[in-house]
Subunit: 446 residues, 2 copies
């Protein structure tokens, strides 16, 4: 999820800043806060007569109560059920009747719901969305069959995917004692025991106007949008005081861990190594930006060290890359992965990646490759696809994890200030093999 958001962040700047020279257009974002605490963000986008309307809840899997993993994600299902005003699925039917699109998604940090419709339907969307914020009819008749649906969903997404199975345990190892250790969809044995009371309590605690950021992007007028929001969301009465999100913290990492999973279904053995690293939200000044560029230099572009050396030159891997998941509310990670070419043993790829990393740690990066990586990053941005949903999603996610519009619009400028020294410093600070989590996904021997 976070990696997706990061790529969304990147795409935004294609529109907002780097595209500016062509279109002379900068986003003129308006922010409002209603009396009940709900925040409204309006992003004008008049390229087409369409509007994207999103409701972001500042609650995600990391807020699942202890032993009740999967509860936040469960609402991705429950929110499409009936309310005291509308029948089961009536909202979805209304969206498709007017040719609109809708969806929902959950991360550790947030849960969001959206529709893409024609601007004339915005009032209706807001009415429906405001309604289900407080008026869901949660009964066992609704809840229990959906629990089976979710267990089936988990079975399809995780149990049938060896990499997902390993990923759950790698994540648990990286985030010991932190709620990022649980799967978004929940542990199977905990989903199976979720009860209607859990859902009622969670809904009452978190589905409140003060916990929502509504993002509207499209061919709309901010003042008119505010008026519509007041008439719909503005009428939602909070039934709880704002709640603090209380997350446990991980102990300081001091050991290295290697996880190995063998499964006869594995067709692409994969090696991956992760290190804890701060997200943009909690990093010291400039560190997150340097981590982004470090990741690009190592394995985030067509001219990255991994790509040139391991994929093209040594021909050991069909893929070798790096990632930094900067967009989360709490401690995140940086890491690398490699997929061996043909019958190349996974150890060869691991060793080649380690050599590249050791070399970087020893000799540092050069000004030239930093500049090239930064340009690559910006090029990715410039050539990245544009979409209104993406635009809305960027703002929703950044604001929901605690960022501001300003934090966000100043990002490219901050990236431009990153020096060779900054990159070398974060590399040496965070890429400590003695505190890493390594995952090995292998086919089961016959």
């Amino acid at each position: 999820m976070n990696r997706f958001v990061l790529s969304l962040l990147i795409s935004f700047f294609a529109i907002a800043n780097f595209g500016a020279s062509a279109s002379e257009q900068k986003p003129d974002i308006t922010e409002y806060t209603l009396e009940n605490g709900l925040r409204l963000i309006v992003i004008p986008d008049r390229r087409a007569p369409v509007v994207t309307h999103m409701a972001w809840y500042k609650v995600g899997s990391a807020d699942d109560p202890q032993g009740r993993s999967g509860l936040a994600h469960f609402f991705e299902h429950l929110m499409f059920k009936g309310t005291s005003n509308y029948k089961n699925n009536e909202f979805s039917t209304a969206v498709s009747a007017i040719g609109g699109q809708e969806n929902a998604f959950t991360s550790w940090d947030y849960t969001a719901y959206y529709q893409k419709v024609s601007p004339s339907a915005l009032a209706k969307m807001m009415k429906f969305e405001a309604d289900r914020m407080r008026n869901l009819v949660l009964t066992e008749e609704v809840f229990l069959p959906e629990r089976d649906v979710i267990l089936e969903e988990r079975s399809g997404r995780v149990d049938r995917s060896p990499s997902a199975i390993l990923g759950e345990f790698s994540r648990a190892a990286l985030h010991v004692n932190h709620p990022y250790s649980i799967p978004i969809i929940g542990w199977e044995h905990e989903i199976a025991k979720l009860e209607i009371e859990d859902a009622l309590e969670f809904y009452e605690r978190w589905y409140q106007p003060w916990n929502v950021i509504v993002v509207v992007a499209g061919d709309v007028d901010p003042q008119e949008t505010l008026k519509l929001a007041r008439e719909t969301y503005g009428k939602v009465v909070a039934t709880q005081e704002p709640q603090e999100r209380k997350w446990t913290k991980s102990p300081r990492p001091v050991v290295s861990q290697t996880l190995q999973y063998k499964d006869e279904r594995v067709t692409r053995p994969t090696w991956q190594r992760s290190f804890k690293a701060p997200s943009y939200m909690i990093a010291e000044e400039g560190e997150a930006e340097a981590l982004d560029l470090l990741s690009t230099i190592l394995g985030g572009s067509a001219t990255s060290r991994f790509q040139k050396e391991i994929v093209l030159e040594q021909e050991l891997a069909t893929a070798a890359g790096a990632f930094y998941q900067g967009s989360s509310r709490d401690m995140s990670s940086i890491g690398f992965y490699g997929v061996p070419r043909g019958d190349t043993p996974i150890e060869y790829v691991a060793k080649a990646i380690e050599e590249q990393v050791d070399l970087l740690l020893k000799e540092g990066v050069t000004q030239e490759e930093l500049d090239r990586a930064r340009q690559a990053y910006l090029k990715t941005i410039i050539y990245s696809q544009d979409s209104q949903v993406t635009l809305a999603r960027i703002f929703g996610s950044v604001l929901t994890i605690g960022g501001s519009v300003e934090d966000f619009t100043s990002w490219p400028e901050r990236l431009s200030k990153v020096t060779v020294e900054d990159v070398n410093k974060v590399a040496r600070k965070y890429l400590d093999r003695n505190r890493s989590i390594t995952s090995r996904l292998l086919p089961k021997e016959g």
Copy 2:
């Protein structure tokens, strides 16, 4: 803690059963339950004019609230502070004034307090112990300085011990998503944030008569002891209904993990591998007994496979053994360890242990070695030291984790029924390397 209890269990039978042929003495244990729910166990032991008095609370580190690890253990300190009737330390002073001994201990499953005194002082001990069950004066003045004491204790026990540092993370890996994953003393950053309110809530929730098992072992009369208990413990009024102990469960283990910790202070590199295995409390019939004998055959006696092959024959290790921690309330573990001799690489010891285990899994154990292991187990029992504190501790721990006196006295008989097939079956069921947790403790390279 659990391994200690197991060795205690063993010593008990030296007295209770196997010693019987010599002394014709069997423990004539009496059990009572007071009206407020407190249970009293009286174990006559008239060998000396001394009595051991223990109060066992069915609450331990596994009951620490989320993010508040260390709270159960914190009470091991707080319970020696002042009450509304006695000054700080007055109980301890009274115990030493009469030449008595006292102590306290915490495990994941329980917390216990005890005194060893002359029988004439039993009434006084009960009075003090009953008093501190509900009358502790918990203020910030008492609480905050003790928090610093505990942080210092943690620093001494964990931070100064490389094996303890690694052990905490190995445990977390073995018990993902289960409260056995937390250290008894607590994670440092969570101890540091414990507050007086946490202690007050915990005390109110768990320090109640219905949550206590009082064990009295010694030169006492059961009826007279019951009378004393009624006059002291019987007057404690519960201020809460009995609470259920709600523990989260681990997902089914499917990956193998290797943890490595390097520290310049390491003088004895150590290799260890653990597998999840059910405790006596949750095992299928006969499995725990078979696991006990499997562990003895592999590495639990002077004639074990590891001892003969790896320590004596191949001379690879100064120590190589096996353990099974049968005495816990929930899922436990079986495993092996080895300490290389001289400069022998740790991998050699690991490989030698793996070979022995693979051989056992392939060919099974023999009737002869099972009989020999059983005899060794019984011999350990017979020659084990006897002590009244041990005797009381055995019963306290077994009853506190949910066992009964009968479960317990029938143990040797159940051990005698274990067959070769039973041992081979549990070996193949639980010693699955693809689901194991391996720990490597190594000196830091220069």
